[in-house]
């Protein structure tokens, strides 16, 4: 239906795509796999008219087309969920979904009632209860992603392209999304699906195309591959283990959270994290996990309760004090909170350690650069120049910059919120190895993740949140998919 033939695309010196071909067929879900920076998002943007290929062409129903812009592709029936949510924060959710093609009443007016009804219907289909009338500002990343999904679905397009739609979602929403997509597929829609979670690829897709460094590596039916084959083709080598959890002996208590409450968001949250321990905070999307992390770090104020790091009490609402006490937070929204997108890689990494690279009052650029280069190498960052703005990096590489930025502060307690969101499987293993190593060195780690296997694979202890409260604490031995999920959905609190 939609196809790409020998397409190439360069950004300056970076060849993001070279001679890539790909064909989407009606009624078939096609997976696109590859490491971070392999060129997946670029391919998507080429198909959707955001970029024009430097060479090669886009074919629609076998005939070459030239999309002048995203609007033209949409006209042609191509709906896209971009990797990063692109919402209008000031407009209502319903308007976000229908921008540019609002249902009309007489005289070309907008029919708001119909618009809201349709939006509600879409959300019902996805099984979520987002109020279509609320402004998009303040939606959690997951909710934003869901609105994006609703937006794409509402187009009833012939071709549906999804760039990591599930990265911020947890099991339930993913399952629902897949149901909807499967229905669409059965109705004859062509689907292009990108994800770093291999099980999802195997569950949804019939065919897979693999990219490596912008080049086409393989394209074959999924049934011909095992997960290991897939990984091997993506990474170009065998992967040892995804969850290289080392066993460590927990040391003294590093972080104590006592009856922490932020009105209307979370209530009475108490736990502690010991040195060398990885504690996972699990729960459904919107359970308030990120909010707890933000409060601990001082980005949000808390209304009641205490936070102690290494026995020292933190004042509420001061990230600076939290950092001084040895706390670090890798936030969930890297584009808004984690990175200054316009600044260079080195400046971003340097931002948390301005003191450590000073000569007198003046910053030593050489020291700053060395530090950045060192961390870029340790995290295997893929970049052209350290002086490039981070917004030209691929999503996964951006995430690595955030990690580097915080690891460089040499924290005593590291809070990571969705540390592997949007990270490819090779790097994911890398991040996991890193976290495990850090724990081994005696750092206390609090990990928030919606990726259940990750939680189970990495955590020494699992705390489960449900609707703003801690619902359960499950030690590693007893942590299973069932036990965590039942606590997360509030079906039993017994484990606590």
């Amino acid at each position: 239906m939609l196809a790409l033939r020998k397409a190439g695309k360069s950004f300056g010196a970076v060849r993001a795509l070279r001679e890539v071909s790909l064909e989407l067929f009606a009624g078939e879900a096609h997976a696109l796999a590859g490491e971070n920076g392999a060129g997946k998002s670029t391919l998507v943007k080429t198909l959707s008219g955001v970029h024009r290929p430097d060479e090669g062409e886009v074919l629609l129903d076998g005939a070459p087309v030239e999309f002048g812009g995203p609007a033209a592709a949409q006209e042609a029936g191509v709906a896209v969920i971009y990797q990063e949510p692109t919402l209008f924060p000031d407009l209502s959710v319903a308007e976000n979904i229908f921008m540019g093609r609002q249902p009309r009443a007489r005289f070309g007016r907008i029919d708001r009632r119909a618009m809201h009804a349709e939006a509600t219907e879409l959300f019902t289909g996805l099984g979520v209860a987002i109020d279509p009338g609320r402004p998009a500002r303040g939606l959690s990343i997951a909710d934003q992603q869901l609105v994006e999904i609703a937006k794409a679905l509402s187009r009833r397009a012939r071709v549906l392209i999804m760039d990591e739609p599930t990265a911020a979602l947890s099991g339930n929403e993913v399952a629902r999304l897949f149901n909807v997509v499967k229905t669409l597929r059965e109705q004859g829609c062509a689907v292009l699906f990108i994800s770093h979670r291999l099980d999802e690829i195997f569950e949804l897709c019939q065919r897979v195309t693999i990219l490596r460094d912008g080049a086409w590596v393989a394209g074959e039916p999924i049934s011909a591959l095992t997960p290991d084959d897939l990984v091997r083709r993506m990474v170009g080598r065998d992967l040892d283990t995804l969850y290289p959890k080392q066993d460590t002996l927990p040391g003294e208590v590093a972080l104590t959270v006592g009856r922490l409450t932020r009105e209307g968001v979370f209530t009475d949250v108490s736990f502690e994290v010991r040195r060398g321990e990885i504690v996972a905070l699990a729960g459904l999307v919107g359970a308030g996990r990120s909010e707890v992390a933000r409060a601990i770090f001082g980005v949000d104020r808390w209304d009641a309760g205490t936070v102690e790091v290494g026995g020292r009490r933190l004042p509420p609402g001061s990230p600076t004090a939290a950092m001084a006490a040895g706390l670090a937070l890798v936030p969930e929204d890297r584009r808004q909170q984690g990175l200054v997108m316009d600044l260079s890689i080195e400046r971003n990494i340097g931002l948390t350690g301005l003191k450590s690279v000073r000569r007198g009052p003046v910053i030593s650029r050489a020291a700053e650069r060395d530090r950045a280069r060192d961390w870029a190498a340790r995290l295997q960052l893929k970049f052209t120049r350290l002086g490039d703005a981070v917004n030209v990096l691929s999503g996964g590489n951006q995430q690595k910059v955030v990690l580097a930025k915080w690891l460089a502060t040499d924290p005593a307690v590291l809070i990571v919120d969705e540390p592997t969101r949007g990270i490819d499987i090779g790097t994911k293993a890398e991040v996991h190895r890193l976290l495990s190593e850090l724990a081994g060195r005696g750092i206390a780690i609090l990990m928030i993740s919606s990726d259940l296997p990750e939680v189970l694979g990495m955590a020494d202890r699992v705390l489960v949140m449900h609707e703003g409260r801690l619902a359960a604490e499950i030690p590693r031995e007893r942590a299973t998919e069932e036990s965590v999920m039942s606590a997360a959905t509030g079906r039993d609190g017994a484990a606590a």
Binding site: T86, L91, A129, I130, N172
Partner: protein, 346 residues
Amino acid sequence: MTAVTADATPGGRSARGLVELVFRARELSLVAALAVLVLVTTAVNPNFLSGQGVKDIFLNTSILALLAVGQSLVVITRNIDLSVGSVVGLVAFCTGKFVSADPTGRGVLTALVFGVAIGAVCGLLNGLLVSFCRVPALVVTLGTLYVIQGLDHYIAHGQQINAVDLPPALLHLGNEGVLGVPYLPVITVVVMLAVGYYLRSYPSGRDFYAIGSSPEAARLAGVPVRRRVLAAYLFSGALAGLGGVLWLARFGTVVADPARGWELIVVSAVVVGGVAIVGGVGTVYGAVLGALLLTTIGSALVVLKVNSFWQQALTGALLLLAITVDRVLAVRVTRLLRKRSVRHGA
């Protein structure tokens, strides 16, 4: 949240009502402030609310409000137009020159067409530079502010348009009315209602908000960003042109640069009216109310016999008060919204 599906609508509706209320609240608080101001002033001096007094206030507001409507359209798209004041000056002078050259042959309609056309050309220039050449709006319009002002001075060069030279019909437009209602406010209200309705109820109107809210997302959503931004400037320019003609009609005598320094007054009217300076939020009704409030403050202080030297200070203080109250209110409601949405989720 995920588990709840069935009761999405009722909860949704109440939250939506709340959101609508927040937006209304901005305008309501302006109306309330206005009411307090008028009541206090009238209590001190009943003349303030006399027929003449009310007429004066509306007449005084009209041109500012007209400019505020144009400006809010631009500000909603996350841009700014600092050149409006100088466009008014240029148009007022040139139109005056133009019609006074042949006061019998060139009537009101010619004057309006001439003036609006000049304004539109200025707007077009701004718009092209901002949308197609991608020059930051502040730089462009500060630049055109200087250029247009210089041009105006160059053309005027110490001349003056006098009321005697103008066609009487034009002066009528500025000072008379139908059934006791002067034309000027009528024109402004009609423009305001038309633009307000368009912005709220037409897809292309919503585009302006989308662009201001997130230009990148707007592009991805297929909104013709450049065309809309161009349209906003064109419209703001044309309204400034209209304002210039009305200025001429109202004041009759025009020296080189009427409306000098008005760019900041117009922007304050828009901001007081609740249009976010960063785009995406606000209505033209609010902007017009903002203009009305500013003008009324000015008139009230004179009527209240406030020392001339205190007037400006008080105007500034009241402006700050207006935006502060608005802000505090917005924060309160947002907090309420947060607690509500969670309770609804729970």
